[in-house]
Amino acid sequence: MEYLSTNKIAIVDLANSKVSDQELDEDLVKEKMGGAGITTALYEQYQNEDPIVLGTGLLTGTLAPASALGVITAKSPLTGKVCHAPFTLYAGLELKYSGFDYVVIKGKSQKPVYLWMHDGVADISNAKDVWGKDVWTSTDTIRELMGDQLIQVLTIGKAGEFESDFAQVCINYWASGDRWGFGKLFGQKKLKGVALRGMSLLEVSDAEGFVQQCKELLSALKAGAFAGKKGIAELSVAIGEEDIQKWIAPLVHRHESCFNTPFPTNTFVFLDEDPGLLKESEKNEPGFLVTDIYSLLGFKKLGLSAADACALLRECARYGIDALAVAELSQKAGKKKPDEIKKSFSSLKGPLENIGKGKFSPWSPNFGLPANEWERRQAVAYIFGIHPIFAMMAPELSEEKLVELANIGTGLGFTSETLNKVIADIAK
């Protein structure tokens, strides 16, 4: 695969500590396009070895608007189905620039390890310095060991190490869209995390044509319905939860976008610092980046104050547990005090009602779309590598436009029929 690609797939066998790589076959791309299309194909190819597959979309890490998405594909411990979870912020970008479009992680390690992917090299590293540590300490430690604060880290906390059903693969310090318990799979493999950083160069088939098309799309998006809006509270309003805006406003410091995403879907709240501060805080850890609407709503519905809810989200992220599961199971158990909720992390059990029914993480709201249309829109986002929440907000990023952009960028002849077939294959 020559364009918009690093042309490499890493095959990591944790059982014998071996890493090999193979070329990304252009015929595979022509047939399965990218993202969840190819992670699904790779999962099927290695399914007897219980793989976790990481991947990037066709457009991930380019000037295509919202091209922030990376995908984790594996069998969910919660549903027993092969599902896809998103990783955003800068992690999707860094996976592609680490020199690999896809990573197949198979087998189980005898001892704790983490995967260090950088500049076309995938190393299985001893995790003795981070195993037993929470998500925040693990990310700090890996970055310090490698001497680079920009490394993106997909990591588990203690929930994953203890193989909790609700363990989440977190991104750096923050919650992710892993609503499938993939953190448990990491723990079972003794895989503490995957660290990503690289300086690759992606070639483009028709570079000027691609850039021009991206520019036109971005202009249309900036004039779209979300113009002037930002943050987690606005997203909540859009799904009919207006109360949240007033509730969280006193804590909001600012909003943060994922790579190249025109709408900031994340909101940073200050918990131990004045939210009005407009210079660098002297505190190392003044707050928390809220990346998940539903877990915030879940804690709000327990009757917690915004400060208590956000502080609990921070504790969940440190522990590496899905905060929505914590909120739902706390509600069922009648627990409403932050301390008792926090103490319950290690013993959390029980069936969930708020669980994904389809293939894609319900982290992304449906904004009123019927389930089948939401599922298709998510499939499109996960194939092209578009931020899955932003994809729901941006009709300007139509299937036709994305196919056209992919064709300009890759020089391949994708059609709407190709896309339909890939979506149908993923849904099987």
Partner: protein, 108 residues
């Protein structure tokens, strides 16, 4: 980051970050503190929430007393990159302005 990618494209005709002369510092993620740094021929332009600062290249560390070992890993390479040419071969002007998804960059 999109601005870095756009600048990298201007330099390399492909997508890359290493040669960009503009950079978003985002190393102090837990503090949610960031700035946009631009390399000019003789200056570093640093735009932060509290305002704009111009530092002479080469004198930056001495003037601020900053501990460079605690800077972003890519901070030093920025000094080795080509200075901003305002995309002078492009009729529509600097690509970083055009591609900033949240309109954070402007030019006087």
């Amino acid at each position: 980051m999109a601005c870095e990618m756009a600048c990298g494209y201007h330099r390399d005709d492909g997508f890359a970050l290493l040669s960009s002369c503009i950079m978003v510092t985002r190393g102090r993620e837990k503090r949610d503190y960031s700035a946009v740094v631009l390399k000019e021929a003789e200056n570093l332009v640093i735009a932060r929430p509290e305002g704009l600062e111009i530092r002479r290249i080469g004198a930056a560390a001495e003037e601020t007393g900053a501990d460079q070992s605690k800077g972003d890993a890519s901070a030093k390479p920025l000094l080795l990159r080509q200075p901003c040419d305002l995309c002078n071969d492009r009729e529509e002007g600097p690509l970083c302005l055009q591609f900033c998804p949240v309109n954070a960059i402007s030019m006087d």
